[in-house]
């Protein structure tokens, strides 16, 4: 006892440090996210609520888990525990209690803690603790999301087999003023959240199932109605899959609904690798593109990187190389397309088709794209924002180690014109049936979007450059070409609220399929007719 007193006095007398009591402890650092915002909203109220939480929740919980409250700061506290298990349990208890307390409050009034837990050797003094371990705990707290508990690997090793909850590894994180990176884990404490997630998924599945049934039923009903009266009895039992479903679709193999998804047969794996990006092997429009994609990727086979790199998953889209050249960009048909100006394009490659649902979902499966797209595998992916499209190309570029990107607006128009300067790529007069636009085809709206490659390719062998789905390009929106670059590069500046879309969609009329037509949309907003195609730098 006397010794300890001495040490306390020692601090003021600047006596040697070796006498300070050190011990191993689980350190919990917590703070309230957005504390200053809350104080700004309602200073007294927030203060009173925080104090009440400390008194009613935090202090009793610390005691219950055999810990000690070291200090409270304005917007948080630090506590130490003898046992890592108790420390993590305490963190979970606090977070779950706070969910209950916040449930009835409006979003901006909620008090949410961020909690970090670390195991470390600390120096204990009467009213504070010191050491690296404390700093790391508060750094963990700093990177934690509101409402979550982040733990270091030291804690994780101690609790992983003792506490039944999920742990998500967030990898090694560099934290401020600490030389060694810290391995961080997120505690997934709440089993109810997991259940909720599953329930929602079940609901969606049930909904989709019933939708499919209804579509089939109405299809069957229609089929029955369509039979001439006499034949009805005889034919009713025939499978209702009429190839006549879409009469008069010019040049396209009836995009009948119930086509089996053209997934690559698993047996195709040992096929010798064919050169990727097989250019210009002109597929007849009737061949589904996804099947062509099924050739295994040589890169994944040869560069046999160990399992740490999930490179093998990415299948490359079919790309058409485009020779460079000059052209006149823009037109006098619309104010946004003026002034016409000469642009020189360097050689590049562009996707033969818009990116498909199948291709998108590989990115989603790799958790690199934000959502799982619904629809037929060989249909173009839709309802993507510009930011979504950027995520996809970033993933594709990383997975293939090639310079995949979005095309620039100039590249898109150059490719869409296919070497022509006319109003449409096929001439100055509109012709029905060439492009997928509103009132240009006989396709029922319920069939849309139809699979890629359903319409005639342009002179560069590119499908659906105009009509089908709107296509994002890299450029920020500018209301005309005043000041546009002439070297084919994307016209960008910093953060732009809106980006350019090209091509027009199946819901737009014939004016929109012109290769010079341009429009814009908010960068981060999804819309059901918006898709994209990828480009590749040589």
């Amino acid at each position: 006892m006397a010794e300890i007193r001495d040490i306390k006095f020692g601090r003021s007398n600047e006596r040697p440090r070796e006498a300070t009591p050190r011990r191993l402890a689980a350190i919990v650092a917590a703070d309230i996210s957005g504390y200053s915002r809350l104080m700004e909203l309602d200073e007294e109220g927030t203060h009173a609520r925080v104090k009440r939480i400390e008194r009613d929740l935090i202090e009793p919980s610390i005691a219950e888990h055999h810990g000690r409250l070291v200090k409270t700061t304005g917007d948080g506290f630090i506590a130490i525990f003898d046992s890592p298990v108790e420390a993590v349990r305490f963190g979970i208890v606090i977070q779950q209690n706070m969910i209950g307390r916040n449930a009835l409050l409006p979003k901006h009034h909620r008090i949410e803690f961020r909690i970090g837990v670390n195991l470390g050797d600390v120096i204990i003094e009467a009213d504070d603790i010191y050491g690296d371990g404390v700093n790391i705990a508060s750094r963990l707290e700093g990177i934690a999301n509101p409402g979550q508990v982040y733990i270091s690997s030291g804690i994780y090793e101690q609790v992983k087999n003792k506490l039944v909850c999920g742990y998500e590894s967030l990898g090694d994180r560099k934290v401020k003023n600490i030389t060694e990176p810290v391995r961080v884990y997120r505690v997934l404490a709440d089993p109810t959240a997991f259940h909720e997630h599953r329930k929602r998924r079940e609901n969606i599945l049930i909904f989709l199932l019933s939708l499919t049934l209804l579509v089939i039923a109405s299809g069957a009903l229609w089929y029955v109605l369509q039979q001439p009266n006499g034949k009805l009895g005889k034919q009713a039992s025939a499978p209702a899959l009429p190839p006549v479903e879409i009469p008069n679709v010019p040049s396209s193999p009836a995009p009948a609904v119930k086509q089996p998804a053209p997934l690559p047969p698993p047996s195709s794996a040992p096929v010798p690798p064919t050169p990727q990006a097989a250019p210009q092997t002109q597929a007849a429009p009737s061949v589904t593109p996804a099947v062509k994609h099924a050739t295994p990727q040589p890169q994944s086979a040869s560069s046999a990187t160990p399992a740490t790199q999930p490179v093998s998953a990415a299948r490359e889209p079919e790309m058409n190389p485009i020779r460079g050249g000059s052209f006149i960009m823009g037109s006098n048909d619309d104010v946004t397309e003026k002034p016409t100006h000469q642009v020189t394009i360097k050689p590049f490659a562009i996707g033969k088709y818009p990116t498909t649902v199948h291709e998108w979902n590989e990115c989603a499966a790799a958790k690199a794209c934000g959502f799982v797209a619904t629809g037929k595998d060989d249909a173009p992916v839709t309802n993507v924002s510009w930011s979504d499209a950027k995520q996809f190309v970033a993933w594709l570029a990383g997975a293939t180690r090639k310079a995949y990107r979005l095309p620039s607006e100039a590249e898109w128009e150059y490719a869409a014109r296919g070497g022509t300067q006319s109003k449409y790529w096929w001439g100055d007069q509109f012709e029905p049936g060439i492009a997928n636009c509103k009132n240009c085809t006989d396709i029922a709206t319920t069939e849309q979007p139809v699979k890629v490659g359903s319409f005639k390719p342009n002179p560069f062998g590119l499908y659906e450059m105009g009509g089908g789905v709107d296509q994002w390009v890299e450029d920020c929106w500018h209301k005309n070409y005043q000041g546009a670059p002439a070297d084919g590069s994307p016209w960008v500046e910093g953060e732009c609220p809106a980006h350019v879309i090209r091509s027009g969609s199946w819901k737009n009329d014939a004016r929109y399929v012109r290769p010079s037509n341009r429009d814009n949309y908010d960068t981060n907003v999804r819309y059901p007719t918006h898709g994209f195609r990828v480009a590749l730098s040589p």
Partner: protein, 141 residues
């Protein structure tokens, strides 16, 4: 002809469940969508800031599915009626403000134009019944 009718019928049948699911959110009865500026009959020189007013509902980002909220759409010179079972079209006459904008710089060619606001839900569908503003006519000189 008959086939076309049947296609329409089957399409309608097939779209019933999905449409019923995707749209039809009711707006509060006292919600009001209106132009703060310009006013009906205004004559304007050049471009102008069009300001959207919404009472008793909130403006949010498209894709955010909160109760009693939506995002603005400005219809310029649109005469076709809205289809309540379809997303509000996106073209040069149907301007979208999905980032939650409540005003926009508008530049129109000289002459008379009509403007109308429509509130869209998270998926760009109109509410049921559609929440629209009065259709105003302005002249650009």
């Amino acid at each position: 002809m008959r086939i076309a009718q049947l296609i329409v019928l089957s399409a309608a049948l097939a779209s019933v469940p999905s449409a019923a699911h995707a749209q039809g959110k009711p707006a509060p009865k006292d919600a009001l969508l209106y132009f703060v500026w310009p006013q009906d009959g205004a004559t304007i020189k050049g471009g102008f800031w069009c300001r959207f007013g919404l009472r008793n509902m909130g403006v949010t980002h498209a894709g955010d599915d909160f109760q009693n909220s939506g995002h603005h759409h400005l219809l310029v010179d649109v005469n076709e009626p809205l289809d309540p079972n379809e997303a509000i079209p996106q073209d040069k006459n149907h301007l979208h403000f999905g980032a939650g904008q409540t005003e926009a710089r508008i530049e129109l060619p000289l002459g008379k134009h009509t403007l109308q606001l429509v509130l869209g839900d998270a998926k760009h569908y109109p509410f049921n019944p559609p929440l629209v503003s009065e259709k105003i006519t302005i002249r650009i000189k």
